[in-house]
């Protein structure tokens, strides 16, 4: 099992740093899947983390100038590593003025993802910072739990408003309630609602637009005005919104009534899917 990669371009490095910061905000620990063409940051839905799951995917070509890997075997040419996402983001934070950055899989008393950074310094000498991020290599029998989640057959699919606006609304609602109702219809309306014994607050977003439906299914026959709603834990939603530093090029919310809400974002060449289960 081998992995070695290198970033030399400053823009790529910044972009990769942003991705790792976002992951660190979304998941405390995550799985990094390394394949010859792609990298994935994965958070599998476990009861322990509230059933939230995440799937982030990026093409290695868009980031790395060098990328070599060798998986478990030729037919299973993949590597799955579990790591603390904050470690990665902290390691990359020191790469602000880096001339080059390398990420390697190493074994130093324990398996590590070693991030070594060659820094630019004022003098001609080179400075090298090395971060050994401890990782757990995930055995193949557990890989099946870490596959790309199927996109649910949604009742309503809608484009999201500017995430910053949405975040400031949800932040305020968070002070009043722990539960939030997300409801949307096929007419471009999205409501964020909280209900307590004392107060009900609803924020209405209009004319957001609905992406064209992929398949001809039952929801086609729906009344476009009819709302599909889902109750979620407001902290989970807020965590997702807080992780978004840059407004994505595309942001879609898919609602499966009383089951799950699925966010599908595209940042340049990084895609992020985030699933929040409904509260029963």
């Amino acid at each position: 099992m081998k992995f070695r990669s290198k970033i030399v371009d400053a823009a790529c490095l910044n972009h990769f740093t942003r991705v790792s910061n976002m992951i660190a905000k979304l998941a405390k620990t995550c799985t990094l899947r390394i394949r010859p063409d792609k990298l994935n940051f994965i958070l599998a839905d476990k009861v322990a983390n509230g059933g939230v799951s995440m799937w982030c995917e990026l093409e290695q070509e868009n980031f790395f100038s060098e990328f070599q890997m060798e998986g478990v075997s030729a037919e299973n040419n993949e590597i799955y590593l579990e790591l603390t996402s904050e470690n990665l983001s902290r390691a990359l934070k020191t790469a602000q003025n880096a001339r080059a950055l390398k990420i390697k899989l190493t074994n130093k008393h324990f398996p590590c993802l070693t991030v070594s950074i060659e820094l630019l310094s004022v003098s001609s000498s080179s400075r090298i910072v090395t971060h050994d991020i401890p990782v757990k290599v995930i055995p193949r029998k557990l890989w099946k739990d870490l596959q790309e989640p199927a996109v649910p057959d949604s009742d309503v699919s809608i484009y999201l408003p500017v995430l910053k606006t949405m975040k400031s609304v949800v932040e305020k609602m968070r002070n009043i309630s722990n539960h939030l109702i997300i409801e949307a219809n096929l007419n471009g309306d999205l409501n964020l609602k909280i209900e307590t014994e004392i107060v009900c607050v609803t924020t209405h977003f209009k004319d957001l637009g609905n992406p064209p439906l992929a398949s001809e299914n039952a929801s086609q026959a729906r009344n476009p005005e009819q709302m599909a709603e889902v109750h979620v834990d407001i902290r989970k939603l807020l965590q997702f919104l807080a992780g978004q530093q840059v407004n994505p090029t595309k942001a879609v919310c898919n609602i499966v009534r009383n089951k799950i809400v699925h966010f599908d974002l595209l940042h340049e060449d990084v895609s992020l899917q985030y699933f929040i289960p409904a509260l029963s």
């Binding site: 070695r4 902290r90 020191t94 001339r99 398996p111 090298i128 910072v129 090395t130 401890p134 193949r140």
Partner: protein, 391 residues
Amino acid sequence: MKCLVTGGNVKVLGKAVHSLSRIGDELYLEPLEDGLSLRTVNSSRSAYACFLFAPLFFQQYQAATPGQDPLRCKILMKSFLSVFRSLTMLEKTVEKCCISLNSRSSRLVVQLHCKYGVRKTHNLSFQDCESLQAVFDPALCPHVLRAPARVLGEAVLPFPPALAEVTLGIGRGHRVILRSYQEEEADSTVKAMVTEMSIGEEDFQQLQAQEGVAITFCLKEFRGLLSFAEPANLSLSIHFHAPGRPAIFAVEDSLLNGHFVLATLSEPYPHSQDLRSPELCRPAPQLQAHSTPHLDDFANDDIDSYMIAMETTVGNEGSRALPSISLSPGLQPPCSPGPHSEEEDEAEPSTVPGTPPPKKFRSLFFGSILAPAYSPQGPSPVLAEDSEGEG
């Protein structure tokens, strides 16, 4: 005692107080003939710091009222710090600072003369005290590093603020290595990230230490001194001995000098033994042959040396299988003990080999001039020596 500080020196004084406040809760203020000394020691007596401001630092300096012995006093760090709390305020509004101490009023009076004729007077109560003096002599330390504080400041930047200790050593190619110190724990299932910074010899003004030497000390106090030395553009020198002996961090210019004496960890762990030799040297193996490393060297390492010989086939217990990892020979820690291990064994016969000893800063710097054989055993309660007779 009476002294008057003006202009930018008020901020320098304030910065010194800030960096002392990272160490101790009490501030010892002692007017001497060769300047005003501010000293502190931490509660566990493992760190001592002093600044000496030369009479020229002041607009006006009088160590003692003529015909009287100079007074020395001890005040709460908190209350003295509060006078200098806001450095921007000191810089923007304070024009003069007058510190006076007299026995009649039993108060240390700090007066800040600000813009627009505003005058702030702080009357601080104090206690009489003995002179606080750690025994140390940088000249006795065989190893010396000296670099602009900015270089060392940049070197500690990648380390997380919560990290307690850092190991400083000399690696292969005479590169200076700083590495986060990890405490070995019995249930070390959760491993922390290890960060290592490697700096070329050329960034140092003086590097007098052979490859393989290393000491481990507290980062917090070191950062405190750096926060003083960095904005003042001073050079910082580090004088050290074997692990367990105190390390002396010094800054100096014509108007002031500062010394921080920090205990270093005495007990090399089984792991940190190899930290002294191969681990420390590893980051720059390919740099050895070239005096000026460049990008290609950085890229030029052999992927096979990073191979993980680990099987994750179905049925394997994953992380449980980790102990069976075969380390590639290059990574095998050598068993040769460090040059100081015999000395350590003598000093602590009770240590059962193989059991990780509890972490402790055994070395009390006050004993630094003692021969190793006489150095106190275990965390001894030795405090500052009485030095009443000292002139």
